[in-house]
């Protein structure tokens, strides 16, 4: 029953989908702000998310996640609703650090189990950034009665110049991502170029195996 209700809510567009956590961008924009993210992750993951933040420390929304194993013919599709919580933010004169946590429920289907399952999602993200350096660590766990898998993402970035508010920001980001639960073999390493200006953010890159990763995000 709950599965069915969740599936209907997502299908109805209540949660315009949420891929994975769009590459460590912040899951909460600002009070009364909306964030839309979508990511194509090297053939292993496709994700879309949409969140609305009634306050700067909470956002609500949902998303869609598709996982495609490189090991065997295993796919998973998860539609879920999710709440993101800013546990703490450290604002310093030249830096900002954040700790986010989230939890959600969804409807999952896959080709290695029958029917649909209730998906439980829990995760966290810790990040630290200055105008020239960016680091983040994110872990996202999905569990159901049929599976348990986690996606861990570490990003290290540097900016060739310190952008200002109205400038185009450019970042070079190294990302390593590890999947558990038989989704992907070993760690996936990706080099990314990240560009953003105003409320628009785009990043693209290639894994060491030459697979593309693309992400776009909009705050408004």
């Amino acid at each position: 029953m709950l599965n069915s209700l969740l599936a209907r809510a997502c299908a109805g567009g209540f949660c315009l989908l949420g891929l994975v956590d769009a590459a460590c961008a912040k899951p909460i924009a600002f009070a009364n702000g909306t964030t839309i993210m979508t990511e194509y992750g090297a053939g292993t993951m496709i994700e879309a998310q949409a969140f609305y933040a009634p306050t700067y420390w909470l956002s609500l929304g949902g998303g869609y996640l598709h996982l495609d194993s490189d090991r065997i013919d295993r796919t998973r599709d998860i539609s879920s609703i999710r709440a993101n919580y800013l546990v703490h933010r450290w604002n310093r004169q030249d830096a900002q650090a954040n700790l986010f946590a989230w939890g959600g429920l969804g409807n999952a289907t896959g080709n290695d189990f029958r029917g649909s399952k209730l998906d439980r999602d829990i995760g966290f993200q810790a990040d630290y950034e200055t105008r020239r350096i960016y680091t983040s660590l994110m872990s996202d766990l999905h569990e159901s009665s049929a599976y348990s898998h986690r996606v861990d993402t570490l990003q290290l970035g540097f900016a060739p110049y310190a952008h200002d508010y109205d400038d185009l920001a450019t970042w070079f980001v190294f990302q390593t991502r590890h999947y558990t639960g038989g989704v992907h073999r070993g760690a996936e390493c990706t080099g990314l170029i990240r560009l953003f200006k105003g409320g628009a953010w785009v990043e693209a890159g290639l894994t060491t195996k030459g697979k593309p990763q693309v992400m776009a995000m909009f705050n408004f």
Binding site: Y56, E129, A162
Partner: protein
């Protein structure tokens, strides 16, 4: 003589006609323009706001207000806090927002 004094005072007052006050805030956490979009959105929501300038380099947010209007400090602090930032100081300046832009563009 009276006419001369009146004209003199009127001329001295002329530069202030039509100029708006600016409120400058020192803000901690200003490192990313993408994340700071909420600042301008929150400050532009005040009816008294005419324009907003954010400088990551100087770590300041400057609000220009409509003629004769002001925004209380508590409201400004609340707006910046809700955008996720910490206000360290608020001071009111006589320079226009164009002056502020010119100052920010000038090399140190």
């Amino acid at each position: 003589m009276r006419t001369f004094l009146f004209c003199t005072f009127a001329l001295l007052a002329l530069p202030n006609v039509g100029t708006a006050a600016t409120i400058e805030m020192d803000v901690n956490g200003l490192v990313c323009a993408f994340c700071a979009q909420g600042i301008t959105k929150a400050l532009r929501a005040f009816p008294a706001t005419s324009d907003v300038v954010v400088s990551l380099e100087k770590k300041i947010v400057v609000v220009a207000t409509q003629d004769g209007q002001d925004i209380p400090d508590d409201d400004l602090k609340r707006a910046l806090t809700n955008a996720g930032y910490d206000v360290k100081a608020i001071h009111r300046e006589t320079e226009t927002l164009d002056d502020v832009r010119a100052r920010l563009k000038a090399k140190p």
